[in-house]
Symmetry: C2
Subunit: 218 residues, 2 copies
């Protein structure tokens, strides 16, 4: 049976980018369907009735939701010769811990949509602290798991496409604060799977300006 | 080498209960260490410097943090003949989805510590809606995964020990709202691993009253 792989996505979503990177790392052909979040498709509402959010991976009709779960599913389903998660349970737990940490702590929205100067200062401080913890974990390794690009890298690199928007919103230099992390991000960007999946930073910035304008008009 | 397995725990924590159930399901001997959360042990701060929270599983000196990650680690490390997660990637993704749903949506604290009547009403409504979604997923199955007790059951059953505290705080009957879910909980309680790991509902209720008194005094 020919495989049918559909990804319901919204291009600026870092979570959708995770799924795209993982699929491309594994060489899986997929049908990328862009959602209009102001008018969600019947397929999205049918396949993710609980959260009604992108990304959703639909594999032969069956939905997989939530980006980290999607990446793990992709890893367990395709390309076992190039796994994203480490093989040892302890290393797997560590990788899961850091991906979970990002989802609990990184708030790009906190910085770029913060309503007031004070709230933005707090969000900016938290954002940088979080990146510094991650930079500490990266240390002098090429990738989070060591020499090979893997699960933690897939989970974090999408946020890099929002760095310029964050920097200009919050008047900060991530390069100055976290030089090793930026070096790592540039290394990741040399991979075709990543370069193909992350939008241009200026396009994300324009998107942010547009959303901000709409929010203010409301 | 003899294995050293330590669990840093706090008895009313549903998250700690998950780890205890999983260890007992796998027949792993462990050294249970109760933390005083008002004065955390040096071991807790050393082993979980990022979140500083229980539970932490320390296996031969190496820490694993975050309850769902701990349960997966236990499943991947011990007792492969009685797995908690299903073997098929799609079913694994589904199990992970529901456990993740609980962590994002169930807020016992929202109900029992809600400061005002209105906030409590909202928290109560959300709590019941969440349980109803889970009851819908359970349907007429014996356990969430079908005939066998597994990952989703381990993740959810600890909250049952808080049901009496929630019911008396919010003046509601979970049995009336979600009879199938209560039937499932009673079925789970017949397992030694669960019965040994969940505290008595009245003890949890007394604990809640005590914490509430302290909070009001502050």
């Amino acid at each position: 049976m020919a495989e049918e792989v559909i990804l319901l996505d919204f291009w600026p979503s870092p979570f959708g980018m995770r799924a795209k990177i993982a699929l491309r790392e594994k060489g899986v052909d997929f049908d990328l369907r862009e959602e209009d979040l102001s008018s969600k498709s019947p397929l999205l509402l049918e396949k993710n009735p609980v959260h009604k959010k992108v990304p959703v991976l639909v594999h032969n009709g069956k939905p997989v939701c939530e980006s980290l779960i999607i990446v793990q599913y992709i890893d367990e389903t395709w390309g076992h010769e190039s796994p994203l998660l480490p093989s040892h349970p302890y290393e797997r737990a560590r990788a899961r811990f850091w991906a979970d940490y990002m989802d609990k702590k990184i708030s790009v929205g906190g910085v770029v949509w913060a309503p007031t100067g004070e709230a933005q200062e707090a969000a900016k401080k938290e954002f940088i602290e979080c990146l510094k913890v991650l930079e500490g974990e990266l240390g002098d390794k090429a990738y989070f798991g060591g020499e090979r690009f893997g699960y933690v890298d897939v989970s974090l690199i999408p946020f890099y496409s929002w760095f310029y928007a964050v920097e200009t919103s919050a008047n900060l230099s991530i390069m100055e604060e976290c030089p090793k992390l930026v070096g790592w991000a540039k290394r990741c960007m040399q991979r075709e799977s990543v370069a193909m999946s992350l939008p241009d930073q200026y396009k994300v910035y324009d998107f942010m300006l547009e959303v901000r304008k709409k929010r203010r008009a409301q």
